[in-house]
């Protein structure tokens, strides 16, 4: 049978980072095809290429045997490719019916939109999906499950032949997943090709005929799911040696520094209970969207929480106050340094001293000399490569920006250091420097809580690994027992409750 869609030799780079290298994929009509891989394996980039959102650098892309090239999302849609993103992309102010038919609303005389026809066609689509949604209500306030149903209705409405679903079940409950699968099966049986991205292997096995594994932007394998076990899949996804990149120093584990008690924020995470001791590096592992960043943001006081308590050195931290957290000796190096960690237009030295502008000031005036001296000390210690410390941070490379963020927080001499994806998007050499630094800080008695999606980093650096799955801590794995498989299985929800 001729494949409906083929990709061969697909490559895509963003700057110096190769997101996809020589990837191939073919989808047959009537097939549900799973795409699996670790975070950062290139799945989302592949989806964006299919959706016409990013242009490929190299490779061929055919539909029905004909080469295609998309200038934008509208082209992909016209070719019959519907994409349902991890985060549904609805317009909150528009009605559900308009969201389905935006730019394709049914028309009547004078090319006016025909609201009655639009409403009845939306209702008909919901009827086919077996759901009751009011087509007239605004999309604002819909649950994630309902938003996804609207996206599926949209895909149905233009008779998509290829349906791409990027982790559609991440936020769904069991019943909702079942209903979604029923819809997907009926689409598949009607001859559509479905590309299904999921971290839940049970779903992959239940829904799909074939599975393609990506790792580090490269194609690893494509097999019928019947030929593979979950363990084999995990091994193919991880499939690399934990190198000696991670110079973990032995540290004496001391007093509990950071204690989190039953922390709950409705809709994000619940009942999170953890302790980090002085001298210890604890990794918080899990899939994207498991709620790890949300937990550390709440601990640091950026987000509020509904229940629970945070204690530093035994003293409770008032909720919702980063200032109090800083005063208590907590530092958070955030995930997205561009958005949360740095003021891109300010100079390196200004950024590096931002959290300490009061302790560096005399009589309320910030003295340039003190600022420069402090910045120089930390820039040296972290090997920040900047032409001049007076240059704006935006002129530095990603790795050096990350070092400035670290310098900024380390200069406060924290006793509890929380790092969220400390080495995302930086080169190997800088990664090693960051790891060496974290390790030496722990040896000095700092309690380190590290959120990381990179398994080798988690396994190489952590004394203990806590695994989160869908807003809950599901497992705690000691350093000597932690390996790729145990962490991945727990992260994908295969192991409930932990020691």
């Amino acid at each position: 049978m001729q494949p409906l869609l083929t990709l061969t030799g697909l490559s895509k780079s963003f700057g110096a980072v190769a997101a996809l290298r020589d990837v191939h994929l073919d989808l047959h009509p009537g097939e549900a095809h799973a795409l699996v891989g670790e975070n950062g394996a290139g799945k989302s980039t592949l989806v964006k290429v299919l959706a016409g959102v990013v242009a490929r650098d190299a490779g061929t892309f055919t539909l029905d045997g004909l080469a295609v090239s998309f200038a934008g999302p509208a082209d992909a849609r016209a070719a019959g490719i519907a994409v349902i993103y991890q985060e549904p992309t609805l317009f909150p102010d528009l009605s559900v019916a308009e969201n389905i038919f935006i730019s394709r609303q049914p028309l009547r005389g004078l090319r006016r939109i025909d609201p009655a026809a639009m409403r009845s066609r939306a209702a008909e689509l919901f009827g086919r999906l077996g759901v009751h949604l009011d087509p007239d209500r605004p999309a604002r306030g819909l649950s994630i499950a309902d938003q996804q149903l609207v996206e599926i209705a949209k895909a149905l409405s233009f008779q998509a032949r290829v349906l791409v679903m990027d982790e559609p079940t991440a936020a769904l409950s069991g019943v909702e997943v079942e209903r979604l699968f029923a819809v997907v099966r009926s689409l598949r049986d009607a001859g559509a090709a479905v590309l299904f991205i999921s971290h839940r292997f049970d779903e992959v096995f239940a829904l799909c005929q074939r599975v393609t594994v990506l790792r580090d932007g490269q194609w690893v394998s494509t097999d019928p799911v019947a030929d593979l076990s979950a363990e084999q899949l995990v091994r193919r996804m991880v499939g690399r040696e934990v190198s000696s990149l991670y110079p973990k120093l032995p540290a004496t584990v001391g007093e509990p520094r950071l204690q989190v008690r039953d922390l709950t924020r409705r809709g994000f995470f619940s009942g999170v209970h953890l302790t980090v001791h002085s001298g210890e590096i604890v990794a918080l592992a899990g899939l994207v969207g498991a709620g790890r960043s949300e937990v550390v943001r709440a601990v640091f006081g950026i987000d509020r929480y509904d229940r629970g308590a945070v204690l530093v050195d035994g003293r409770p931290l008032p909720p919702g106050s980063p200032a109090a957290a800083i005063a208590a000796g907590v530092a958070l190096v955030p995930e997205d340094r561009r958005l949360q960690g740095l003021v891109m237009e300010l100079s390196v030295e200004r950024n590096a001293t931002l959290p300490r502008r009061w302790s560096l000031s005399r009589l309320g005036l910030l003295l340039g000399a003190a600022e420069r001296r402090s910045a120089r000390t930390w820039a040296d210690r972290l090997n920040v490569k900047a032409a001049r410390l007076a240059d704006p941070v935006s002129t530095l490379s990603g790795g050096n920006q990350q070092k400035v963020v670290l310098a900024k927080w380390l200069s406060t001499e924290p006793r509890v250091l929380i790092v969220d994806e400390p080495t995302r998007g930086i080169d190997i050499a800088t990664k090693a420097e960051v790891h060496r630094l974290l390790s030496s800080l722990a040896a000095e008695g700092v309690a380190v809580l590290m959120v990381s999606s990179e398994l080798p980093e988690v396994l190489g650096m952590a004394d203990r690994v806590l695994v989160m799955h869908e807003g809950r801590l599901v497992d705690e794995i000691a350093r000597d027992r932690a390996d790729e498989e145990s962490v991945m299985l727990a992260a994908s929800g295969h192991r409930e409750a932990g020691g």
Binding site: P73, L90, S95, S103, I113, G141, V175, R179
Partner: protein, 327 residues
């Protein structure tokens, strides 16, 4: 549901307007005389047309601060044309004003698309640039009513069945813009863009082109308003419309156009303009010191924003509670 809230918001402005007129009329019945109502309508016309253009831009999550300067430029252009060619047809003045305004809109939209800088900054810049061009061109000259053809000036005072022609122009503009925004794909796309710009891109909407078009529309309407200004006041210097941009934004916000885009209507914006102008006329009648007028406008803006927040919160509660799902 969306439409119901939509209507509630505009009814609120209408209610406030009715209340204001009622209280003022009780205090002084002459406030409702034919002449006084006519003056009210005339006074609201230009602001209402500008507010319609502004609403179109704000709905896309942008803002156009240059409208006052565009109005000034186009008013002066219309006047100067009559000085140079006393016999020129009136239609030509409208063509010139609207064309000039649209050209200013092209400059705004083009700069925003090219520089990828927020519209607030770009139009703050062009506010001064357009006004500067106006000053340079006028070099202190003034165009007087005597320079303009009587047929043109009559537009400013003529009435049809007691309703000023200028107000009819405004009604036509509001109706046409409202129709396009409500019933055409391109109009709905403006709402989509303001509601969630990245999602609009993913949906394949030509975001840049639509925003550009919104600025051209706003410019053209400001140009149109400039010609009406010339017809109404007859005497023109380079200061026409000076400082009116914030009034225009205020009218749109009071009328329920959300400053973050995606919701509101041109009807609401126009009603907001009428309400603001009416406050201006009502306060002296009520014996309130005119110095308080600005404070009253400010309070109204805050009240409108408060109302929007309250409505949004209530809507959110209703929607969460009433999420209908079946199996």
């Amino acid at each position: 549901m969306a439409h119901r809230v939509f209507v509630v918001r505009e009814l609120g402005v209408l209610l406030a307007l009715g209340l204001l007129v009622l209280v003022t009329a009780v205090r002084n019945p002459r406030f409702l005389s034919a002449q006084s109502v006519k003056d009210l309508l005339l006074g609201s016309t230009i602001l209402a047309i500008l507010a319609v253009g502004q609403a179109i831009v704000i709905i896309t999550r942008n803002v156009d601060l240059s409208v006052g300067s565009v109005l000034g430029l186009s008013a002066f252009a219309a006047g100067t044309m009559f000085v140079a060619h006393p016999g020129a047809p009136v239609v030509l003045a409208f063509g010139l004003g609207i064309g000039l305004g649209a050209a200013c809109g092209v400059v705004n939209g083009g700069l925003i698309a090219a520089a990828r800088v927020p519209a607030l900054v770009i139009t703050l810049g062009t506010l001064y640039v357009f006004r500067g061009i106006d000053y340079t061109w006028a070099t202190g000259r003034q165009v007087n009513a005597a320079d303009m053809p009587p047929g043109f000036l009559r537009l400013g005072t003529a009435t049809v069945l007691g309703v000023p022609v200028l107000a009819l122009f405004a009604v036509a503009v509001v109706a046409a813009a409202g129709f396009v925004l409500r019933s055409y794909r391109s109009g709905r796309e403006l709402y989509a863009i303001g509601s969630d710009p990245p999602a609009a891109r993913l949906a394949g909407i030509a975001v840049g082109r639509r925003v550009f078009a919104a600025f051209v529309a706003s410019g053209a309407l400001a140009g149109f308003a400039g010609v009406l200004y010339a017809a109404r006041f007859g005497t023109l210097d380079a200061n026409a419309g000076l400082g009116s941009e914030l009034n225009v934004v205020a009218a749109a916000v009071v009328g329920g156009v959300a400053i973050f885009g995606g919701s509101g209507s041109v009807y609401g914006a126009a009603l907001g303009a009428v309400l603001l102008s009416t406050i201006g006329s009502a306060l002296p009648v009520l014996g309130i010191n005119p110095f308080w007028q600005r404070a009253a406008v400010g309070a109204l803006i805050l009240a409108a924003i408060g109302l929007d927040r309250a409505l949004a919160a209530r809507l959110a509660r209703t929607l969460r509670g009433g999420t209908a799902r079946g199996g």
